[in-house]
């Protein structure tokens, strides 16, 4: 398809407290239906969106973190995490959920599409995108 664009969803806020993280995720789920190249970037407090073992019982909010793990099924091929943001919060790649991707026809698969990248690569990736949605 010639009019396929590279969509980048830039997530920079903590998962709860504002609606941005959830709204971004919903738009990603919808965008995937339009057969575009969808990538996600997590930076600043946005890296918390991907942390494992979230427990929202105390704040009365739905814990939507398990939903990120199905994004491979929605044809999302890349989920990038800014290394500096992760380190500044004392987190490592081991603290983040893993997201599998598999082509159900060819059975080609990737164990984890979550990738930690340095600041230079973050800038490059944003620059390469046709459309950047910032949340």
């Amino acid at each position: 398809m010639s009019d396929t664009k590279n969509f980048m969803f830039l997530n920079r806020r903590a998962p709860y407290g504002t609606i941005y993280a959830w709204e971004s995720l919903e738009v990603v789920l919808i965008a995937a239906a339009f057969e575009q190249n969808v990538s996600l970037m997590f930076a600043d407090d946005g890296v918390y969106e991907l942390t494992k073992n979230q427990d929202t019982a105390g704040i009365g909010m739905k814990n939507f973190s398990p939903t990120y793990r199905t994004l491979g099924d929605y044809e999302v091929r890349h989920m990038y995490v800014d290394k500096a943001s992760l380190e500044a919060r004392g987190l490592t790649a081991d603290d983040l959920v893993q997201v599998e991707w598999e082509d159900w026809e060819t059975e080609e698969s990737v164990d984890n599409i979550v990738e930690v990248v340095d600041s230079e690569r973050v800038a490059e990736l944003l620059d390469e995108s046709d459309v950047v949605f910032s949340f």
């Binding site: 789920l29 919808i30 995937a32 239906a33 814990n63 939903t67 199905t70 099924d73 929605y74």
Partner: protein
């Protein structure tokens, strides 16, 4: 409009989806199907059970495209197409099957 299942009254929203996901029992699907003049077969239950498992794991109802692929993978390639799924759920596999399964309407489904 509330529905009556196993002697209990369960709340539904204006489109007929269960308000409380935890209210679901298999009887919910039976009652809803009866209202639609549909008889549930094992093929229907395979889809309903898949949707419930998917929701349990990922906390959302899958888009039809995702459902179609997953069904093809789990239940056989001949079932992984929208023709088969619409044959089972004429009002749309996303909308109708999710409603029977007690899930919210899939995101992006109007």
């Amino acid at each position: 409009m509330p529905i009556e299942v196993d002697g209990k009254t369960l709340e539904t929203d204006e489109e007929g989806y269960l308000v409380n996901l935890n209210d679901w029992v298999p009887g919910v699907a039976e009652v809803m199907a009866k209202e639609d003049d549909l008889e549930l077969t094992q093929d229907h239950w395979d889809i309903i059970n898949f949707l419930r498992e998917y929701y349990e794991e990922y906390q959302i109802a899958p888009a039809v495209r995702v459902l179609t692929k997953a069904v093809g993978k789990r239940l056989g390639k001949e079932k992984g197409n929208s023709k088969y799924l619409y044959g089972l759920f004429p009002y749309g596999p996303g909308k109708q099957a999710c409603r029977y399964a007690g899930l919210p309407k899939p995101t992006g489904c109007v």
